[in-house]
């Protein structure tokens, strides 16, 4: 049995020869993302245009394993489009996006990307309104997500405990059996973050997590996200500068589809180009 596993390891197609890495039907091994060179995400020279409008223009970006990165930028800077490209929703016109060393995100489908370990939180909180909070978390939970497995699925005690833990983290224990559609806006945001946590991704893409939250809720979210970093890599897109200052070590500024500046918050705030984009014109 051990030898078999070893053979499997050596024969893994993404390890042996690069040209053997087939596209689309890539064998996805969870938790085996190759981060031996440091970064977990390589985005290089991505271009996307819609009817002549360049949403992403030669975007190049690297995210390190375990890093918490904030991305800011004015409206139309291409933040959401970038997330769409990384999660397989939009195909770029050119450029590459690799998850680890070997997974070509531009050729994988959404669910392949998701099960290889990238989780996404949408700008508008998207949860399953007719399902209870518990069921939402259960659906997101990291497990075999095939058709047949779902038909036969039985919740184990371990999984139940895990879901209860997450509900504690996101403060929704009381609402366990409430239909998610009835939650408040902030609670929906948290539920979505909770779903990201049960999904156990290696990389979290979080789009405007604190929009519509109270001050307290924002603080709690900041704690949550910083807690996640380290074990996971987190990319946060936000407008709320206070929030970013409270969590960010490194900030990337996007403008007109490419990276304008990158660095810690103080450098960014004093960068004349950033000031011009935000205040000028």
């Amino acid at each position: 049995m051990k030898t078999l596993d070893q053979i499997k390891q050596t024969m893994r197609r993404d390890r042996v020869f690069d040209f053997m890495v087939s596209t689309g039907t890539h064998p996805v091994h969870r938790g085996e993302i190759d981060t031996s060179h440091g970064p977990i995400l390589y985005v290089e020279n991505i271009n996307v245009s819609f009817d002549g409008f360049k949403a992403l223009n030669d975007l190049t970006l690297y995210i390190d394993d375990g890093e918490l990165r904030c991305i800011i930028g004015p409206n139309g800077a291409g933040k959401t489009t970038m997330m769409d490209v990384l999660t397989g929703k939009t195909r770029p016109d050119s450029g590459t996006a690799y998850f680890g060393q070997s997974m070509d995100l531009t050729r994988m489908t959404e669910h392949e990307i998701a099960s290889s370990g990238i989780g996404r939180k949408f700008q508008k909180p998207t949860i399953f309104p007719e399902h209870t909070v518990f069921e939402n978390l259960e659906l997101a939970m990291n497990m075999d997500k095939g058709v047949w497995a779902s038909l036969q699925f039985k919740l184990t005690g371990e999984q139940k405990t895990r879901i209860e833990e997450v509900m504690q983290t996101i403060n929704l224990v009381q609402q366990c059996h409430t239909a998610a559609g009835r939650l408040s806006h902030g609670q929906k945001q948290w539920l979505e973050i909770g779903m990201l946590i049960t999904q156990e991704p290696r990389l979290l893409l979080v789009d405007e997590p604190v929009a519509g939250m109270t001050h307290q809720e924002i603080e709690h979210t900041a704690e949550l996200l910083t807690g996640l970093a380290g074990k996971h890599s987190v990319v946060v897109v936000e407008h709320d500068m206070d929030f970013i200052r409270s969590i960010a070590k490194k900030v990337t500024v996007l403008h007109e589809g490419h990276v304008l500046a990158e660095g810690d918050m103080d450098t960014i705030q004093n960068d004349p180009r950033v000031i011009e984009v935000y205040l000028g014109e």
Partner: protein, 372 residues
């Protein structure tokens, strides 16, 4: 053992389902008894005509829950579900046609009458095997299932959703209707398949056979209901509803949405095929009219009237609308289309959850008031 256990648990958890299944059981005992044992003179006697009519309704109900599965739970509004129903029906019709043997008008032991009439010399290859019941039964499930698989595989893979999907399902059933109207297809053209003699050796016109068919239809409906209930209660069912409510979200948490939709569609098509197969021996004919887009759309109204996404709502809707149809087309034929059309409008405007939803709402209100 564990299967029975599961089944009992399934029924126990389903309050309305319990009523439904027990009334189905009651009906499937009462109706044959009232038909066969109670003398015709008695006011309690149920005529064979009514038995057949009720059997037909039960087939429609099975078709309705098949649609509810894809529409109510999966959010896939198929305007062409009649195509699966009719294909199941044709498969059964072909079996029944072969059973006629040399008792047809032309007395040809091999060829059905319409083929002799068209001067065909031998049975087309796709008719082979339909003299065997087991083969026909297999085809009743496989043919609709295969069509649903091919169509669904193409459609869901390329993310055809919403109204686009509805429109091309409608085009699908329309194309089938046109095709089956052609004599060259070898399915009896305009007239379809009819003049059946017997099924599994029993005279199809005989009252006893009619009662058996009725009971089998009731049984099929019960089994179909339980199957659907199992599916929607499983995690598969929850994923399907999740896809209905937020397709992208479901994808981004790692579900292969196309596969879920595809299998849901295939299961539903197979159920529709069985419904069609049970329908044909009871009404005694299957013709291309069953493919007409109007039939498929009418089916959507049954589900909408009853209330989608509940399974029992679909059954209630199918029974009520068809009862109304029988009544109107008999008593006031010119009013029926007005009534049906009005029903479409009224249900979509005022009863988005259907009658079942209305009942639940009033019940909740009542309970809430009592609690105060």
């Amino acid at each position: 053992m564990s299967f029975t256990h599961e089944l009992i648990k399934l029924v126990q958890q389903d309050r309305v389902g319990k009523y439904l299944l027990s009334s189905l059981l009651a009906v499937s005992i009462m109706v044959p008894v009232l038909n066969l044992l109670v003398p015709e003179s008695s006011s309690l006697h149920v005529s064979t005509y009514v038995v057949t009519l009720l059997g037909k309704y039960l087939c429609y109900a099975l078709l309705a829950i098949a649609l509810d599965l894809v529409w109510g739970y999966g959010g896939i509004l198929s305007l062409g579900h009649g195509v699966f129903f009719a294909l199941g029906g044709y498969a059964m019709g072909m079996y029944l046609m072969r059973q006629v043997g040399d008792r047809g008008v032309y007395g040809n032991p091999e060829l059905p009458d319409f083929m002799v009439f068209l001067d065909w010399q031998e049975l087309p290859w796709y008719w082979l095997g339909f003299d065997q019941f087991w083969f026909s039964a297999l085809m009743i499930i496989l043919v609709p299932g295969l069509l649903a698989f091919i169509f669904g595989w193409l459609a869901f893979r390329s993310r055809v959703t919403g109204v686009y999907l509805s429109i091309i399902t409608q085009a699908l059933t329309f194309a089938f209707m046109l095709a089956f109207f052609r004599n060259e297809m070898g399915f009896g053209g305009n007239n379809g398949l009819t003049d059946f003699k017997d099924i599994l050796g029993f005279d199809i016109q005989h009252g006893g056979t009619r009662n058996v068919l009725f009971v089998v239809s009731a049984l099929a409906l019960a089994v179909g209901y339980l199957l659907c209930r199992y599916i929607v209660n499983s995690k598969f069912g929850r994923v399907v509803v999740a896809i209905r409510d937020a397709e992208d979200r479901t994808r981004f948490i790692g579900y292969k949405v196309e596969s879920y939709k595809l299998w849901l569609f295939v299961i539903s098509a197979m159920m529709a095929g069985i419904a069609g197969a049970l329908y044909v021996p009871q009404v005694g004919i299957i013709n291309p009219g069953e493919f007409s887009p109007l039939n498929s759309i009418e089916l959507v109204v049954w589900v909408a009237v009853g209330g989608r996404g509940t399974l029992y709502g679909a059954i209630v809707g199918a029974l009520l609308v068809n009862f109304a149809k029988t009544f109107f087309t008999g008593a006031l034929p010119e009013v029926w289309l007005f009534a049906l059309g009005g029903l479409f409008v009224v249900v979509t405007l005022f009863l988005p959850q259907g009658l079942v939803g209305l009942y639940q709402q009033t019940r909740e209100k009542y309970l809430a008031r009592r609690a105060v």
